[in-house]
Each structure stands twice: as structure tokens, then as C-alpha cells.
Symmetry: C2
């Protein structure tokens, strides 16, 4: 049984594995460290790996349930067994671990990795009489000075301000610690450096995807009292006509009314295209940007690197359309629920793509999957029922939004645009 | 003879080439379009390609002379012949072009590409009586409304505000036009959308490198009246211990006194790592950031994507050290000049790396290349002359800065740290 807290643990983990002692491993905790360990165990060492997480999703508090499901689907594709919403009750074994017993099952294990979170190591500070937060983090001001003016603190032991919420936060990250070190050094030498706080930026690689975020997820934003909504867009990371390109999946969290941008998150491939977008939003979050700031964000453009209308611009435009009530959007989760209950006949599923894309689905689900290409919708309006809720899909959610506007004009308003379209549903792992 | 202004020209260019009519091509103008055409001609079609540019560097007004020389060195490696500071006087030929005559030479050509810049196509606007700038761009307000309230304008025909200088600017870019289109559409429908202006963001791919910028170059900043200085850093784009990584070369332009950040530019590989850094700075330039904002910029961190102290953070720290007078830095150009005159004996060239790196240079230049590893400097201080100017080099400029601090303490102050170190000099094409 190991933690991942220092190099000795890492050396011991590697030794056990390379001596062939580990066929099955259980990771407890699906935060960043837990998932990175799961990837290393499964991908690098070919170990049969399970992850148990007490919350209902991976990376709880960091990414939305929507994006988390995309990560979970990818872990499944990579044959990592994931058990969310499960509590570990005990670990059995004698000289070695043998079983991890949760409230729902027993998992065999030759190795257990405990990665259930980090707590500030502040015993020394407490003994020194420094002011601590209720969770034990050292309270510092912007100059990183503790309650004792002769003592400065930084890194995993301090509490700093969340610059989005304005409330105290805790960010045990090597990158924070590094930057705080410079601020402390400057101030010890009588300088006037400040570390204002953090917006909470995050990226990890998991097998073939990157997962990244900055600021608040939709669930965290609501928990923090914001009246928030999210927009989700799937778009190529560079010009659609450029030979090498890949889809990028981004969710923007905005406050209703003010249009203030509260956070962003998403998944992409393992290149730096995802980082490029999160970097831009991470950089401006402390300035309290609104949707218009992202809509007009002036990212460098040329076809090998981006689109004339970058995915970030499109994401903000989509958020604006949602806030304006023009785009009545649903997420994959809602679509999947309606689709599961399709036999009840409450929802009319309308595929707005051309027959080439839509045909196979119509043939597979002749009773439930209807195809009217968006550009034929006006003349074929009689085929659209007026007594049902309508779920609109296309490749990525753009044409289905156009279709929604057309249906609106024709007086059909109980329509819902599936954000991210079929590309998003596929990434989500929807069973279609 | 072609321009690159519409699809018909592109089709005609391609037709001529694919019919085998073009063995040699001359591109006039080394702006973005000219260089992209040079790459396409040389790389995709294997044509012997020359570029003639009237300014002293490629991409004039966009990137600094320092970064431009790195681009020029790469073009040379790729066998593109580049003639900067040359003026085309005439083009000779009859049914086809035959020669391009500059003020310095005659270049054979089966094809000439004119890429000398863009002027606003505003005849219609002039005829309609709209207010135009001296250079013919349509003057619009933030709502993109022209001097006739019933007429809005956007794209390559309008003048907008440069958000760094506050002065009028001209940005004929597809990405601008796209975003302005939405603003105009919203306002035509009685909305209140604004397009505040541009900071000037740029990226292109040239063979194996990306070149990108946002805001002002050091030369442009000075021309605009800023008392500016630049810092140059070479660092890995991700954690130094991560298996796949590459160097990234960045220059930050800052105002003395205020520490205000005016611009950034650099070169990297053709991945998106460069874009990720420029995106972050491009996003915040309109908020008038200072060095401290970049020093503490909270970019997402994990080893496959970035360093704990990202190259942007390090770049700002270096700029801070330069402004504080702690880091007396020189650029490659200055080093190259001193190195050319090394036999005059005015400069002592001190390599602060270990013998493994420094040895080959000492052996090649026994009379002029001295090696004292930085960690041996204190005890070997007697080997450092006190009557010469000292140029300090290491791999990337970090250890040579440490050496400079040590020499300072020992009373040796006529020292100059070569920013970017040997990595920067190599990229610059210094003859060593």
C-alpha cells in the first residue's frame, strides 16, 4: 500500500512492479494524482487497474460532470475499471495487500495506491503559533507573510485567495510553489512583490487525451452561489481545410445576467492545442472578463495553428446565444436520458445532417431517428410534429442550432439543440 | 507575375507550377504572405526560391531584428535565398517574366510573386462619401459604424485602434474580419456589441518553425515613443525531465520604469507550444499588464505540457532582473559583433558551462574561448581579467546570469550576459 507523496514511495512502487509482484492494482481516489497513477500502471506497465472514487465522477470539483463523463469514457476505452460513487470500507491482506473492499464490491489487488487528496503539512507552523485556516493551511497576506511578520510561507501549506470567487482557496501545485518562492525571496530582501491568489488552472494527460480547466466548473460555480450556465462546443483546433487537425471539446461557464466568464474546461488530444486555449482564458480570468471579451479574443491566427474564428471565439458566441435565449441547448446527459426512453414517444429525434451522415442512424433506428437536412427543413416542415419535444442533432451542434432558429420562425419552439452534436455524444460514450 | 489576392491568382500559380513551367521563383516582399509563399514554392514544389525585401529584415514591423535573424537563419537552412535591404527596380521579360532586377543584383525568375502589402479596398466607401483615414481605411467607431450611421464596415477596409499604443492601426486579417462580422450583425439588429480594437497578434509556420507575436516588437515600441527594453529567454516547452520536449525562444518587450508589458514574440517548433504562450499574452495585453502579471501568470501545469516555472514566467522574471539592473544582458547581435572582433582583445569570452559542453569550443578557439564552470568561479576568480569587458555564455543564459551575480560580488562589473546562451546563438546562426 502506497501513497504518492515523495520519491521514496515512487521508488518503492517502481521496484515492486518491476519485480513482477503486481498483476492487479487498485487506485483509491480519482483526482489528478490518482488518474495519472492509473494511466502509468495500465499504460506503461500493463497492469490490470481499477480506480475507486467516492464522488460521482472523476476529477470532482475540477471539471464538470459533462467533461468528466468524457474522461470516464476514455478510461473505459483504455480498460481502466472505474468505480465512482463507491466508498472504500477496508483493505485486506497480511504481508501484502490482497483485497480492497468497497461498499459495493471486493476488488483483488497486489498493490493499492492511496491518492485521496493533500492536506497542508503545517504542524511546524502550528507549533510556532502561526494563524491557520480551519483546514490547517497557513494564512498569509498578498506578500505571503504569515501572522508572524518574520515568517513567510508558500507552497502546499498555505491558503490563498481564489480570484474568481474572492474566497479562500487551497492549491497544492508545484507551479504555484515555484512562483510563490520568488515572491517570498523578493520580500525577504525588502522587495514589494505580491502573489494575489489563484484562479485554479489544471491540465493532465490521460492516455490519448488532455484534460484541462481554469476557473470554476458549472457545478462549483452553482455551489459558490453563481446563477451560472454552461456552453459546450466541439470544433477543429485549426482551419478545417488544413490537412492535420483534430477536434477540441470545450465547456465555458458564464454567469447569467452579467455574462461574466467564470471558468473553462475540456478535453483534447495530447498536443498543446488544448493548453493554448486554456492558457488564454486562465490568463484573463482575474480581470473578470465577460463573454464579449472571449468572443473578440484576439488569438494569433493562421491555418496551421487555429481557425479564423477560433474555438474559443465560437464558444463565447454560443454562450451568448444561450444567454440571449436564442439557443435552447441540452447536454449529452439529457440527450442520453431522452434516448433511453425513446419508446415512450415523448421526444422526436431530428438529425439535421445530410443523408450521408444521417442515413446509417435512420436505418439502425427506423422508428426513432428522423432525418431532415437543415437546408430542407423549411419545405419539409410538415414532417416535424408539433406535439412533441424535439431533440436536434448534427455533427457538432452548429447546423442543429440553425435548424432550431428555422423551427422557431415556423412556430415550433419545444426544441432542444444537442451541444457538441454527434461528435460530443461520441466522446461522451452515448450508446447510439 | 502574380499577386496572392484571390483564388483565381492561386489557381493560376498552381497551374503554371504543375505544368512544369517554374524552375526558379522570386517572391517580392518578406511579410507573412511572401514568406508563406516562399515556403510553399520551396518546400512543396521544390522550386529554387528567392525572396527580396526592401526592409533590413523579414517580417518588418511584426518581429524584432533579433527574432527575425532566427527566421532568416532557418530560411537559409532551407535553401531559400533571401535578399533584405534590397529594392526591386524592374522586372524584365516578354510573354513571361525572365529577370528581377534589384539595386544590387539580377535574379532569374520563371515566376514572380508580388507580396508587398495590402491596401484597403475602399473606393466604394470613398464614392459613398464615408470618412477615410489618410491611408484610405474606413474610419469606424467601436460599434464599427462608419461616418454614415446607416453604414457599418469591417475587415480589411477599416481602421481600428491599436490597444497597446492607443493609436489608429490597420489589421487586414481574416480572423479580425470574422469577429467584426458578428459585431456588425449584432448592431445592425439593434444590439450593442463593440469591437474595441486590436493588439496585433500573429503566427505563421515556416518549414520546421513557428513564428509568433503579439503587441509591439522592441523596435516598434521605441518608434512609438516607449522607453522600452527586451528580455530574451530560451527554455524547454515542458518539464525538463519529460521525454519529448523542445526549446522555445521568446522575447518580451517591456517599458522601463512602469514595467508595463508591450509585446511578445518568438520562434518555436511547429507544434502548438508556441501558440499556447502567445495566446496567453495576447489575451491580457489589452488589460495593460506589468511584468509581475506575467511572472505570476497561472498557466495550467503538468510535465507533459509545461514546466512548473513556465517559460513565460521565466521570461518575465528575466525582464524584471534586467529592469532592476541585476542582469546586464546582451543579444546575439552584440555577441556576434564582439566575437568578430575578438582578435582586438577587448572582450573576454567566458563559458560558464561544464567542460563537457565548453571543451570543444576551448579546443577550437584556444586563444579566445575561456571556460570556468559557474560553480568554480569563486575559487578561480584570479583567472578572470579585470581590465576587459566580459561576455558570459552558458547553455541558455541562466548559469551565465548566476556567474554575473558572482562576478558582481567580486567587484568585476563590466560583464554582459548573452541572453538565450549557446542555444540562442545557434538559432541565430552565429558562426561559432
Amino acid at each position: 500500500m502506497f501513497t504518492v507523496s515523495n520519491i521514496n514511495e515512487a521508488v518503492a512502487i517502481k521496484k515492486d512492479i518491476s519485480e513482477g509482484k503486481v498483476g492487479k492494482a487498485v487506485v483509491i481516489g480519482a483526482g489528478a494524482i490518482g488518474l495519472e497513477m492509473a494511466e502509468a500502471l495500465a499504460d506503461m506497465w500493463g497492469i490490470e487497474t481499477s480506480v475507486v472514487e467516492i464522488a460521482d465522477q472523476v476529477l470532482p470539483g475540477i471539471i464538470s460532470a459533462n467533461v468528466a463523463q468524457m474522461v470516464q469514457h476514455h478510461l473505459k476505452e483504455k480498460e481502466v475499471s472505474l468505480y465512482t460513487g463507491e466508498k472504500v470500507e477496508r483493505i485486506e491482506g497480511d504481508t501484502r495487500v490482497r483485497n480492497v473492499i468497497t461498499d459495493k464490491r471486493s476488488l483483488e489487488a497486489d498493490m493499492v495506491i492511496m491518492a485521496v487528496g493533500v492536506r497542508p503539512n503545517s504542524d511546524l507552523a502550528r507549533d510556532a503559533g502561526l494563524r491557520l485556516s480551519p483546514s490547517g493551511a497557513i494564512i498569509v497576506d498578498k506578500r505571503l507573510q504569515s501572522s508572524d511578520p518574520d515568517i513567510y510561507a508558500g507552497g502546499d501549506c498555505v491558503q490563498i485567495t481564489n480570484l474568481v470567487t474572492g474566497k479562500p482557496g487551497y492549491y497544492p501545485l508545484g507551479s504555484m510553489a515555484n512562483r510563490q518562492g520568488r515572491v517570498i525571496g523578493t520580500n525577504l530582501a525588502d522587495g514589494g512583490a505580491e502573489f494575489a491568489g489563484a484562479v485554479g488552472s489544471f491540465v493532465i494527460k490521460l492516455f490519448d487525451i488532455s484534460v484541462a480547466s481554469s476557473g470554476l466548473s458549472i457545478e462549483t460555480a452553482k455551489k459558490e452561489g453563481f446563477d451560472a450556465v454552461s456552453a459546450f462546443v466541439v470544433q477543429f483546433d485549426r482551419a478545417h481545410f488544413y490537412p492535420e487537425k483534430d477536434l477540441i471539446y470545450l465547456e465555458l461557464v458564464v454567469e447569467k445576467g452579467t455574462g461574466r466568464v467564470l471558468g473553462i474546461q475540456g478535453v483534447g488530444n495530447t498536443g498543446d492545442g488544448m493548453l493554448a486555449r486554456i492558457n488564454a482564458v486562465a490568463a484573463i480570468l482575474k480581470y473578470r472578463p465577460t463573454i464579449a471579451d472571449i468572443s473578440n479574443l484576439e488569438l494569433p491566427y493562421s491555418p496551421p495553428f487555429s481557425s479564423a474564428m477560433d474555438v474559443l471565439n465560437a464558444l463565447a458566441n454560443t454562450a451568448e446565444n444561450i444567454l440571449a435565449g436564442m439557443n435552447r441547448a441540452i447536454e449529452a446527459e439529457q440527450f442520453v436520458e431522452w434516448w433511453k426512453n425513446r419508446k415512450e414517444g415523448e421526444t422526436f429525434f431530428l438529425d439535421c445532417r445530410g443523408w450521408g451522415n444521417a442515413g446509417p442512424f435512420v436505418e439502425k433506428y427506423p422508428d426513432h431517428w428522423k432525418n431532415i437536412p437543415q437546408d430542407e427543413l423549411k419545405k419539409r416542415i410538415e414532417e416535424v410534429p408539433r406535439d412533441k419535444r424535439i431533440a436536434l442533432v448534427c455533427n457538432t451542434g452548429v447546423r442543429s442550432y440553425e435548424a432550431q432558429l428555422i423551427l422557431n420562425q415556423m412556430g415550433i419552439k419545444d426544441t432542444y439543440n444537442v451541444q457538441g452534436g454527434m461528435a460530443g455524444l461520441k466522446k461522451y460514450g452515448a450508446d447510439l
